[in-house]
């Protein structure tokens, strides 16, 4: 190039000029504040990745929810009691019922007559 805009070799001139022209200017604080103010409004909902769901479940912390865990445990105990005793029997009568039931069951198993011959063991 014969008509160079400077006495420097062309590539060197252009590189130096491009560095000066495209270098970052000091931030306009007013513009920065405007953007930050606009970002201060309520933020939109985040997009949760499906591949993160297992991690989310594993990361669950029960510490803030101990009352709910206690309620769940109480429900489990109540369910166990009702399942064992039924709704028509008091808890202190459970032993007798078990004893009677076990005796009847053992007898029927041990002394059940043979179905075809009627013979007893």
């Amino acid at each position: 190039m014969t008509d160079q805009p400077t006495s420097q070799p062309w590539p060197k001139f252009l590189d130096a000029a491009l560095k000066r022209v495209t270098q970052a200017q000091p931030a306009d604080q007013a513009a920065v504040n405007r953007v930050l103010t606009r970002l201060a409004t309520p933020l939109p909902r985040q997009k949760v990745a499906l591949w993160r769901m297992p991690a989310v479940l594993l990361d669950w912390q029960f510490a803030p929810a101990w009352p709910r865990v206690a309620a769940l445990a109480a429900c489990a105990v109540l369910g166990f009691y009702v399942g064992i005793a039924g709704l028509d029997r008091r808890f202190d009568q459970l032993d007798g019922r078990f004893a009677i039931a076990s005796r009847a069951d053992l007898g029927s198993i041990v002394f059940e007559p043979e179905s075809l011959t009627g013979a007893r063991p």
Partner: protein
């Protein structure tokens, strides 16, 4: 507490708004400057910086620390700038006449300032991908590999962009000098 970008992003991914505000304060000034240099328009640059930071918030749970956060954010800003340039016509680079020059001699400074104005004008008229490659390479001092990652292309494609940009600049500057003469 660890205030690195990656640590803050991990907190943002869990919905921590305080970490997000801190991250925004760190990066908005730089991203605003980058968008302004690519777009040549302050108002559009503000919109792009805001949109980029909102995307950081919404996509944070999907972010994986495979690359530097800064590279990821730069990529978002550049993509938003490219989208915007596809839609809107070019607006003259506002900072073209305000270039700081460290040369001590006043006459030479004025001459260099005029040359820089011509270079800035020619740069502003480049196709947007070429201009982006120039801004990232010369303005931010990035390597061709980093520019390729941000522009989602190959290193050789970046080299081609830079060569073509310089050819276009040379052509534009020659015609400007011819006009002046």
């Amino acid at each position: 507490m660890d205030d690195s970008d990656e640590a803050l992003m991990a907190r943002v991914a869990r919905g921590d708004e305080a970490a997000y505000r801190l991250l925004s304060r760190h990066h908005v000034p730089v991203m605003l400057g980058l968008a302004r240099r690519i777009l040549g328009n302050a108002a559009d640059a503000e919109d792009v910086a805001q949109e980029a930071m909102l995307r950081v918030w919404t996509h944070a749970p999907r972010w994986q620390p495979l690359a530097l956060f800064r590279t990821w954010l730069t990529r978002i800003v550049v993509n938003l700038c490219l989208d915007r340039k596809r839609r809107a016509p070019w607006v003259e680079l506002e900072a073209a006449g305000e270039i700081v020059d460290p040369t001590p001699d006043a006459g030479e400074q004025a001459e260099q300032s005029e040359r820089d104005r011509l270079v800035a004008k020619a740069t502003a008229e480049l196709p947007v991908r070429q201009r982006t490659a120039i801004v990232l390479t010369y303005g931010d001092g990035m390597s061709n590999a980093q520019v390729a990652e941000i522009l989602d292309t190959t290193v050789s494609a970046v080299e081609t962009l830079l060569v073509r940009a310089k050819q276009n600049l040379r052509r534009a500057l020659e015609s400007e000098i011819d006009k002046d003469e």
